[in-house]
Symmetry: C2
Subunit: 218 residues, 2 copies
Amino acid sequence: MIYVATQKLPLPKESSSLDRSSRREDSRARLVRAGTEMLCEQSYASMGVDHVLRRAGLSKGSFYHFFPSKEAFGLEVIKYYADHFDRKLERILDNQSTPALDRLSTYVNEGIEGIERFNFKRGCLIGNLSQELGPVSTVFRLALEDVFQGWQAYVARCLRAAADSGELASDINEQDWAEFFWIGWEGALIRAKASASSDPVRRFSSQFIRVLPKSSTI
Amino acid sequence: MIYVATQKLPLPKESSSLDRSSRREDSRARLVRAGTEMLCEQSYASMGVDHVLRRAGLSKGSFYHFFPSKEAFGLEVIKYYADHFDRKLERILDNQSTPALDRLSTYVNEGIEGIERFNFKRGCLIGNLSQELGPVSTVFRLALEDVFQGWQAYVARCLRAAADSGELASDINEQDWAEFFWIGWEGALIRAKASASSDPVRRFSSQFIRVLPKSSTI
């Protein structure tokens, strides 16, 4: 998946009326959001705690007040990013008022808009970290694979809806096709970076939808 | 693509009879090979010149004797890796004595063997660097996309051979399908890391071959 949208965490404004616990929550949320933006664009290895603090506009030392380690922080960032995408996937792919295959196209089109908005600079945080940390950290690897499995469940449900409504063949294996979609999507994001273009994502998605087994009765 | 095979560059043995120029070539080749191995496993940002020298078994200072910059070195590593894969793709996919789709399966199976041999730790150097450097360096980006285009040409030629021999539909757009293959392949390598399993590569490849448009006359 890609691109944390420009929508923001509900951060309270700095004000003398804020009590200590909401300021504390504010700072923690700022750190997580800063980390999320950074890990969409750069490697975990190159993300220094100092940089996160600077991006969040917080003073040195506050990081370890909120997180016991960089790893704990990284896992929190994954959770924030995954929650964000769960809401997006639910909004689009579970939308019963739209034909199921149109929902998938809407998801693809929003993804392409995101790629273009960030000028092909941002990748998928989950794909990025899988690439970098999958081989070296079991804790991260399991968290990342868990996110992929969750995303696949949304697409599988959407494909099943398409099969039930006659848009796709009723005997489609929606789990296999959902995995195929996410595999290709992550690969297409890499190629978008290499080509500085959203065309690979567009072409992959069109081809994917074209080859889905259609119902023979329509 | 994945996995620089265990085959070695033809390095001459250290010997007092070696003249200066061959020792020089030896050291340069050691550096490139060390860098290639490292960039299959870790990020460019985290690959220090000192580490490369240590891995190559060379003394400090010799790096800049051979390469004007880390960037020049990185580009040389890409070239070495790409040349290696060009030879592999040519050996397998241009092998006229085997039916074309079997060649593609052979390529996939060799890839899976590599993934398993390195215990899901190594990724595709070109995919890794596209992820990391595509957005930040035009020089790298263009070199990386060029490699992808070259790889696609091999697969496209193989698919065209399959179409000409009647294994696939004669009107197949082999360029589109070749791009689709490499997009999915790179994505599958990411998922192999996240799941610590070659299953995503196996499932993607099987599905890809299954959905290729077959000739209606056979």
